[in-house]
């Protein structure tokens, strides 16, 4: 048995929750809006920092309030990005690659803007926001069952995952808005002709996706011991890889991707560390291998403008 196996299992589950909450919105946003959005990393970070500033500057210790505010603020951020940048570019007929590049520009700008904000807040409160400690919330329990110690983070993220998955399911299957989102994912032009208000649905999708991801960021503050303005960036490899495993189309496969990556990063690396001495900080390599494997074995053919078929070596049978 690997030392600390129980804890590794708990971490494994924990990460499944986090990755699910981070990645499902990415898949949903891409498949509806067809934008590869790097600001997604900032959604996580800004969600986390909403909680951090509420805690550090205003003394808030309610995770529910933090989550609610984060949802609204970051959801609004996402909508603004869409209105001010993405739609402007799409109107000009920019290629999807250009839209992605613009999202990268926004990503950098948002990251350093957050650094500036942490400095300003530091100026006013003399607290260090560049690396903020774990937040203990007053409205979540932490449970001890036999030899398992389930932290606040575990409970909160478990509850959140259940809520997110079920509400996404309900929204997409049972509501008109959800069905409109699905129609637009399948065929935007056709959906528009059928009378679906495309811009409204897309903006709502952004609001929802930004909001959910931000809630993930809030959860993260109860888990991570060092919250920095690069918190989201440090996970962007994993989150995008999971999205790619889901083909950026299937929410179910994205969830499976979350399980796979959480497995590799917790249990997989534990094995490699114990038996082969691989340093734990090499986790990203495992994820990268998963990414390359997905791209090579199951390339999203035609998706995002790739060659519309697979280029073969001389397959001539004479």
């Amino acid at each position: 048995m690997i030392p600390g196996f129980t804890q590794t299992m708990v971490n494994f589950l924990q990460y499944i929750f986090f990755y699910t909450v981070f990645s499902l919105p990415l898949t949903l946003s891409y498949r509806t809006t067809k934008v590869i959005n790097f600001v997604h990393a900032n959604f996580i970070t800004y969600g986390a920092y909403t909680a951090v500033f509420l805690h550090g500057v205003l003394g808030n210790s309610s995770i529910v309030i933090a989550a609610f505010l984060a949802f609204v603020i970051v959801g609004g951020m996402a909508v603004l990005d869409n209105l001010l940048v993405f739609t402007q570019l799409q109107k000009r007929g920019s290629s999807p690659a250009m839209v992605m590049i613009s999202s990268m520009g926004l990503w950098i700008a948002y990251r350093y803007l957050l650094y500036v904000l942490t400095d300003i807040m530091h100026f006013y409160t003399s607290k260090n926001f560049v690396s903020y400690g774990r937040i203990t919330y007053s409205d979540i329990p932490s449970i001890s069952l036999a030899e398992f110690n389930l932290s606040q983070a575990f409970i909160a993220s478990m509850v959140a995952t259940i809520l997110v998955v079920s509400s996404l399911y309900l929204i997409l299957e049972k509501t008109r808005m959800g069905r409109a989102m699905r129609a637009i994912s399948d065929n935007a032009t056709l959906a528009e002709i059928s009378g679906i208000p495309r811009n409204l649905v897309i903006n709502l999708t952004w609001f929802l996706c930004g909001g959910i991801t931000a809630v993930g960021g809030v959860l993260w503050t109860s888990f991570s011991g060092a919250i920095t303005p690069e918190a989201g960036d440090s996970m962007i490899l994993q989150v995008f890889t999971i999205g790619f495993i889901g083909g950026l189309a299937s929410l179910l496969r994205t969830s499976i991707g979350a399980i796979i990556i959480a497995f590799m990063e917790n249990i997989g690396i534990a094995f490699l560390n114990t038996y082969l001495g691989v340093p734990v900080s090499f986790r990203p390599f495992l994820t990268f291998i998963a990414l390359l494997t997905t791209l090579i074995l199951f390339p999203p053919l035609g998706a995002g403008g790739g060659l519309p078929y697979r280029f073969r070596k001389r397959g001539l049978s004479q």
């Binding site: 000009r92 690659a97 992605m100 350093y112 500036v116 900080s281 990414l291 791209l295």
Partner: protein, 346 residues
């Protein structure tokens, strides 16, 4: 301003410009002209830098009879020895420099060629993310790899001109070396662009499927472009390592790639002179900010952060307002155009 060393400022700006302009020229060739969106620029830059650093520090020690197992170049003793031995033999220094340039071109170029295979089977958006991650993985690997100094990196790398006693002369001569490499890169890129190959590259960018239908072996072409672009980028990395006389993994972060992208977007994608212009402007702003920062004293908002916010927003604004950048793409100049003139005159 009192004590403002304007010559020193210009030399440091132009040196940085020279190195970065190689990055922006090659990136323009890859992404602007050929449509191979390269978000892993920093990978090849880092490879080139580390190859020259490793090669030079290890060989100088070994050729001087130092036991590198006892005193590897990343240990304090090794560093001291490098400092002493580094400027003793000009021929050795220059020889190692030339060797490093060749080696980094080939290795970085080869890695670029290899990387194109799995990645180019999918569209530009997936390429972008995968290459970004590759860059980060290289950095993490280097952070842990003892033989190249892990997180401390390598220091006291003997500059090929290190034997020149006067620092101002040395800086200026090295600047000339860098500008020579820049001129070489520019000439090569320009010639390739204004040729049937350049036409083919643009056709692949415009419509891969149509290019295939017109007999172009698209994957091979993209791999070739990455080979050449990455090779020159590796050389830029070598030049960098000798300039700073040290390398460490945190010099090779995604920001390097973003800087290069900002340069080509600003200067004009598809226009090589534009890449030079973009590189000049952005390195100038960078140098000015580095210069002004200590003069401002302590401020609430760090100018370093502001610079990045500006670069990020610059990318967005230029793309929205004038995606062509400052200088537009020009038609390909080949002898064909002359024929056209003659024909039209008839």
């Amino acid at each position: 301003m009192i004590g403002f060393d304007i010559v020193g400022f210009i030399i440091s700006w132009l040196t940085l410009f020279g190195i970065y302009a190689i990055l922006s020229l090659t990136l323009n060739m890859e992404s602007g002209v050929s449509g191979v969106t390269n978000f892993g620029k920093v990978v090849f830059y880092g490879i080139g830098a580390y190859i020259s650093a490793t090669l030079t520090t290890y060989l100088i020690l070994m050729l001087n009879g130092v036991d590198i197992v006892e005193n590897p170049p990343y240990n304090i003793n090794g560093v001291i020895l490098l400092g002493e031995l580094g400027s003793k033999n000009p021929v050795l220094n220059i020889g190692l420099f030339i060797l490093s340039v060749f080696l980094s071109f080939i290795v970085a170029g080869f890695v670029g060629y290899l990387l194109s295979y799995p990645i180019l089977r999918v569209g530009p958006e997936f390429v972008g993310f995968t290459l970004l991650s590759t860059g980060e993985l290289l950095r993490i690997f280097l952070l842990h790899f003892e033989p190249v100094g892990a997180s401390k990196g390598l220091m006291a790398i003997p500059n090929p001109l290190g034997w020149i006693p006067d620092s101002r002369v040395r800086e200026t001569l090295y600047l000339i070396v860098i500008l020579a490499f820049l001129a070489l890169t520019y000439t090569v890129m320009k010639r390739l662009l204004n040729s049937p190959l350049g036409r083919t590259l643009k056709s692949v960018r415009d419509d891969e499927t149509a290019a295939l239908c017109m007999g172009k072996h698209v994957p091979k072409i993209k791999a070739l472009v990455l080979f050449i672009g990455s090779g020159f980028t590796g050389v830029a990395g070598t030049l960098l390592s000798y300039y700073f006389t040290s390398v460490n993994p945190n010099m090779f972060v995604p920001s390097v790639t973003f800087n290069a992208w900002a340069m080509i977007i600003l200067g004009g994608m598809g226009n090589l002179t534009g890449s030079l212009l973009g590189a000049a402007l952005i390195t100038l702003v960078d140098r000015l900010l580095t210069f002004i920062t200590p003069l401002l004293g302590i401020t609430v908002i760090s100018p370093d952060y502001v610079r990045w916010i500006i670069i990020g927003l610059l990318i967005v604004v230029v793309l929205i307002v004038n995606p062509r950048g400052i200088l537009p793409e020009k038609p390909i100049k080949t002898p064909a155009l002359q024929q056209v003139e003659e024909e039209l005159k008839k």
